[in-house]
């Protein structure tokens, strides 16, 4: 219940800002009128009554500012003000704004590219079922490569894996190099 009341005030302060402000303005002006009426009843001349009332109220804008600070969501209010201020400042010095935007764009683009490469080469698993069970086979001696007859021998003698397959790496300027070898899935 209490949370509901607070949430409602918060939303009203955020989305019906104009109404809330108009209400506050009316309230403070009616307060001033009441003070003046009180002073006149106490026997002051109208001019003096108005002056004394203004002194007692102590500045409509200051009181408004104090009320704003006590509202639910005063934080978001000042955040919006800061954002508007930042935008104004950026518009005032477009050279700085453009430089900042370009540097940010470059930084973000570089990150996206590096992540894309890492994602493709390291993070993504092979597009086969049970990719975590796929192994690469390499001969213990004599380099990382197996000839096709050797692959056939491995396949025929295989008891550890459910299947054995070979792949060939074609080295070209744009393809990443990787160590070749037959691969298979354990049973």
């Amino acid at each position: 219940m209490r949370l509901f009341v607070k949430a409602r005030s918060f939303l009203r302060n955020l989305f019906r800002h104009r109404d809330v402000e108009a209400d506050l303005d009316q309230e403070l002006h009616s307060h001033l009128e009441l003070l003046i009426a009180e002073n006149i009843r106490a026997g002051m001349p109208p001019h003096e009554a108005r002056r004394a009332a203004r002194i007692e109220l102590g500045g409509v804008e200051q009181v408004k500012e104090q009320v704003r600070d006590s509202r639910a969501g005063a934080f978001f209010d000042s955040l919006l003000q800061d954002l508007r201020f930042a935008l104004r400042q950026l518009r005032r010095s477009p050279g700085f704004a453009l430089t900042a935007i370009l540097i940010l764009a470059l930084g973000i683009a570089a990150n996206v590219i590096v992540f894309g490469v890492v994602q493709a080469l390291v993070l993504r698993t092979l597009d086969v079922p049970h990719a975590d069970q796929v192994m690469t086979l390499q001969p213990k001696h004599g380099g990382p490569f197996l000839s096709y007859p050797e692959v056939r021998d491995v396949r025929d003698a295989n008891t550890a894996f459910s299947a054995v397959a070979a792949f060939e790496i074609q080295v070209s300027a744009w393809k990443p190099m990787a160590s070749p070898g037959p691969s298979g899935e354990p049973k």
Binding site: R2, K6, S9, H31, L34, V67, D69
Partner: protein, 110 residues
């Protein structure tokens, strides 16, 4: 008026506002004058403290506000105590009783 400036403890203003509204619905100036009256002129609540407190307490749901006509036919924003406000007044009254008792005890100790 020349009333003695006594600064209010945090939370005490809420208590005084809730207490003054027990007498019935009132506008801001009425509440301020009522607090002056029931505190024997000790507390003169300035608009700069009164209105933030009223708006905060309305957001807490302890009081509700509505626009009405004042005694001399001017529009004024009135406040009235809600059910949670009455509960809050009870709780705050108890809390204040404990605090003032403890302070009195502390000052009597030698």
């Amino acid at each position: 008026l020349g009333s003695e400036q006594t600064s209010l403890l945090q939370g005490t203003l809420d208590l005084l506002i809730l207490k003054s509204l027990i007498a019935g619905e009132m506008h801001g100036l009425g509440i301020s004058r009522r607090i002056q009256q029931i505190s024997g002129g000790t507390f003169d609540v300035k608009p700069g403290s009164l209105f933030p407190a009223l708006h905060r307490m309305e957001e807490e749901g302890w009081i509700s506000a509505f626009w009405g006509d004042s005694e001399n036919n001017r529009r004024a924003k009135y406040y009235r105590l809600t059910k949670p406000g009455r509960k809050q007044l009870e709780a705050e009254t108890k809390r204040w009783g404990r605090i003032s008792l403890a302070i009195a005890q502390a000052l009597e100790a030698s």
